[in-house]
Each structure stands twice: as C-alpha cells, then as structure tokens.
Amino acid sequence: MTKKQHVMIQLETIEKNFAENQVIPPLNLSIFEGEFLTLLGPSGCGKTTLLRMIAGLEEPSAGNIYLDGQQVTYLPPYKRDVNMIFQHYALFPHMTVEQNILFGLRMKKVSPTEREKRISQVIALTQLEAYRQRKPRQLSGGQQQRVAIARALVNNPKVLLLDEPLGALDYQLRKSLQIELKSLQRELGLTFIYVTHDQEEALTMSDRIVVMNQGKIEQTGTPHEIYHTPMSQFVAGFIGENNFIKHEDFYISLRPEKINLCEVMFQGESPPPLTDDTSRLTGTITDVVFYGTIDKVFIHLDDSGQTIMAYQYFDDKRRWQAGEKVGLWWNLKDEVRLDR
C-alpha cells in the first residue's frame, strides 16, 4: 500500500441488527480499487451479512455505504454497479448457460451487438464455449461455478462480491479454481471482496485480509502481517496454528514452526547458542502425531505445566518419541506479544 489508492467502497459506521440481535456493531472499512480483499472469520460472524449490505440485499440499520464516492446505502440492488456470486451459484434453472450470462445485460438494455461482444469475451475467459446451450443441471459443480462467475463478470461491475464461491467444491477443484480466479482478478484489475472461512484460501489469494469475530473487525492487513504479527489472541489462534505462553498480564504467541527441539543434555551435539536473542525451556514429549509433511510434537512444559506444540520435519537429525525429555529454544524475534 505504498502509492495512494482510489477508494472503491467505503463503509462508514455501518451497523446491522436483526430484531434485538446486533449482528454487526458499528464498523468502518475502506476497500481500494483493484484489490483482492478477503473477509475471514468463523461461521456466524457476519461475513455474509456485510457482503449482502454492500450488494443491497440487506439494508443496514445505521451508517453509510459509498460506492466509488457515491452514497448507495439505500439504493436497491438492481441499481448498484456491483455483482454477487452466491455460495450455491443461484443459476436460473430454466435458462441455458448463455441466457444466464446474458441476463444482466438484457436487464440493463445493452445493445445486441455489444452483448454478443461481451459474452464471447467472458465465455472464452471462463472456457465455457462447449456448454453455451446447456441448462445448469447438465453441468458439473465446477462448470456451474464458472457460469456464475461469467454471469457476474460480463456486466463489468465496479466490485465483485464472492460469498464462499468455492465452498461447495472438492479440494482439487477448489485449488485449481483459486488459481483461475486470482489470475482473472489480477489480469482484469477487478476489485474483489471475497468471503471465506478457509484460512489457507485467504492467505494465498488476498492482497488484504479482514479478520472478523462476532461482527467486529479484529485486524486488517496483508496476509503476511496477519500471519506474522497478529494483534490479538483471536487472530493469532484463528490463522494457522499457534502456541500461547502466559505471562503476568499478557500473552506471547509462538508459531510451532519457529520452535526448535534439542537434547536437554546436549550430548555430542553442539548446544544451541543461549544468547540475548534466544529463549529456552524444557519439557516432556506427550505425543507425536503424523501429519504427512510434518510430525506434530506435543510437549508438556516442566515449569508452567502448559502444553506446547512444535513441528518436526522429516529431514531433522533426531526423531523424537513420546516420553522423551526435550529442550526447546527459539529466537526472541519470533515471539509476538499480545495484549488482548
């Protein structure tokens, strides 16, 4: 975020209550033109609600929404230049792929020649040539997802809203569509607001991540910032795996991959340097669990009685087993101090 960027969407103390129940307390957020912004948070934290307010499908209880500088808070969805991709695609079952994609342009009364030009572009982009005349029910999940993307893209919206667009697909297909979506967004310079509760998806695709918890924004930042310098226990615990070590009135969070294991007695092995930059503890291994590329080693600490988890890689010199005494050390720069 070095150069000054154009704000595409601005949410100003936006708030949503359903009856007595406050789902989103007043919230501020700016989304820049051309960025891939991800809303990440546990189920029920209000991601969909926030997205629906931007789309106009839900009216905020208070606050303002600006789209490209214009107040759109109470504008109905069909007058907003944003398009949404629904989790279950919401393709019109009685229309062919082509009719589905053309729907928005028809409603906007775009001329037939312009329509033809745009549909051939998006169909080429989403590789749907062969399926033009098919009905949605004759397509696989991944193809349906592509149609949903094409149906939104063809309108050249200022912002594309995606509500867990890949949630219903299997792992392999999700991986390949993630790459397609990301390159599409980058090539066309589109503004994406992407909802997911898959943290890996968020980390690999986003320019910026907004971590939400119970309607509040916990932290906003690049994937790197969110992962390496979480600002709260919630963020530190929600993204990736983490260890928390309690001090008097604050916590230290420490990623399991940053912890090094060593012999307590350092027999035959040169002891790790205990300098001003490192910290060291001892403990007993309670469990070692196989996870494919790594083993997770669970260690019961001698002094505090806490359990710490560390990764063990297969090319590590020493294979640890349950019941062994072990020393742990890490660099102080890898500790993250959390005040909340």
């Binding site: 969805p77 944003v82 279950h88 019109f92 079952p93 409603m107 029910r137």
Partner: protein
C-alpha cells in the same frame, strides 16, 4: 418360494384394482350395449353416443359445464396465484391463520359449503344461475390452486430472486423472468385441477344452480331419477375420460417440473 410370493402379491394387487375399477369398467362396457335394458348384453353399438350428440338438453348441459369450468378455472387460477404469491412474500403476523383459512373450503363437507353458499346468495338476493355456479366453484378451486403453487414457491430458493435483483432486474422483471417461469408448471397444474373439479362437481352445484343452468353432473342426476339408460352410461364414460386425461396431464406437469428444475431443494 420367491415366485410364489410374487404371484400372491400380483393377484392381491389385481383384486384391489378390480375392486376400484370394476364398477367403472361395467359402466363403460354397457355404454356400448345394443339394448335399452341394462342387465343383458346383446352386442356392440355406438348409437347411445350418437343420440347424445343430437340431444339438445345434453348439449346445453355440456355447454353450461364448459362455460362454468372455463370461467371458474381462469378466475380461480388468477386469484389463487396472486394469493399464493402474497402469502409467500409477506410472512406477516396472521400468516398461519390465513393459510389454514385458505385450506378450509377443501375440508368443510361439501354439503355444508353448498348450503351456506345458497343461504348467502338468497340473503344477497342474487338470482341462481351460471354466475352463482361460477362463484361457488371458485371457492373450492382456488384453495387447490393456492396449495399447489405454494408448494412450488416453498421449494423456490430465495437466492434465485436475489440473484436476479443483483443482475439489475427490478421487482417486476424478477417476477416476470424468474419467479413466474419457475412456478409456471404449478400454475398450469392448478388450472387443470380446477377445470376437472369444476366439471365434476355435483353437491355444491346442486345447491346453487338455477333452472336453466344445469351442468352435466346435474343433468345426469336428473336422468337417473327416471331410470338408468345407456345414454347416461355413455355420458358418464365421456366424463371419466376427460377427467383422467386432465389428471394425468396435471400430474405429469407437477412431477416433470420438479425433476427438471432443481427448484425444489
């Protein structure tokens, strides 16, 4: 062992079917009987069908029935569709109460419905005739239309309407291009059921028909009072065939519609 059980099951089903359809089969058979006396079979003829079509009273009754059936079908389909849409879109406070009130005319004994309509028309000084028949038929046809279309709307995912709105369709366009096409099989099925019910209705019609507005069932009843004739058998056979065709079409529409679109979730 297995074949023994299967044949037992088969014969059991056949007995049930015979029990259900034997009376109708006999009636259809005797409509082709070459004698006025119902009890004896003498040979094949279609003269009863021919004489039906040259009988002025029969033709009057047929035309009355068709006029009433068409009018009440059109009106009850329109009103029923609108009622179902209204109930679907605004889940207001009295939703459940209103919903059960709409089902009520189906459950109330027909004779009570007929009687109460008759009392009402008398109170309002409305002359009995085609108009009163149409109104009476609408009361029960509409309930069926609402039930059938509500079932379809229930299965309609809200996402679809929201997707349409998101794609620049205003409320009317959303209805016109998304909701309406998706509930269309339900509307047609409702109309066919209404038509069938109206053509077949006897009890309620009996109360609210005027002197010159006899429908087919009423005419058949009047004839029966003078003894069962082969003409009645022929007339009944035609009514049975029309009913069966209608019901089959409407069933196919309902089943097809739900298989074809994944509207039902």
């Amino acid at each position: 062992m297995k074949t023994w059980r299967q044949s037992l099951l088969l014969s059991y089903s056949l007995i049930i079917l015979a029990f259900l359809y034997l009376p109708i089969a006999v009636l259809v058979l005797y409509s082709f009987n070459n004698t006025r006396i119902n009890a004896v079979w003498t040979g094949w003829t279609i003269q009863w069908y021919l004489s039906l079509f040259s009988n002025r009273h029969v033709l009057d009754a047929v035309s009355n029935s068709l006029i009433i059936a068409f009018s009440s079908t059109i009106i009850s389909t329109l009103l029923g569709t609108m009622a179902a849409l209204a109930l679907h879109s605004c889940r207001f406070r009295w939703y459940t109460a209103i919903n059960s009130l709409i089902y009520m005319p189906i459950l109330i004994p027909e004779i009570v419905m007929g009687l109460s309509l008759l009392v009402l028309f008398a109170q309002l000084n409305i002359e009995l005739g085609k108009i009163t028949l149409v109104i009476a038929h609408i009361t029960f046809c509409m309930s069926f239309v609402v039930i059938i279309i509500s079932a379809r709307l229930e299965g309609l995912s809200k996402d679809l309407e929201e997707a349409a709105q998101d794609l620049y369709a205003n409320s009317w366009q959303t209805f016109r291009y998304v909701t309406l096409p998706l509930i269309m099989p339900g509307i047609i099925a409702g109309a066919l059921i209404s038509f069938t019910l109206s053509i077949d209705d006897f009890v309620i019609s009996f109360f609210v028909a005027g002197p010159n507005s006899s429908t087919l069932p009423l005419y058949v009843y009047a004839l029966v009072k003078r003894g069962i004739s082969p003409e009645i058998n022929a007339l009944s056979t035609i009514m049975i065939i029309v009913t069966i065709v209608m019901v089959v079409i409407s069933q196919r529409l309902q089943v097809n519609g739900s298989n074809k679109n994944n509207v039902y979730k």
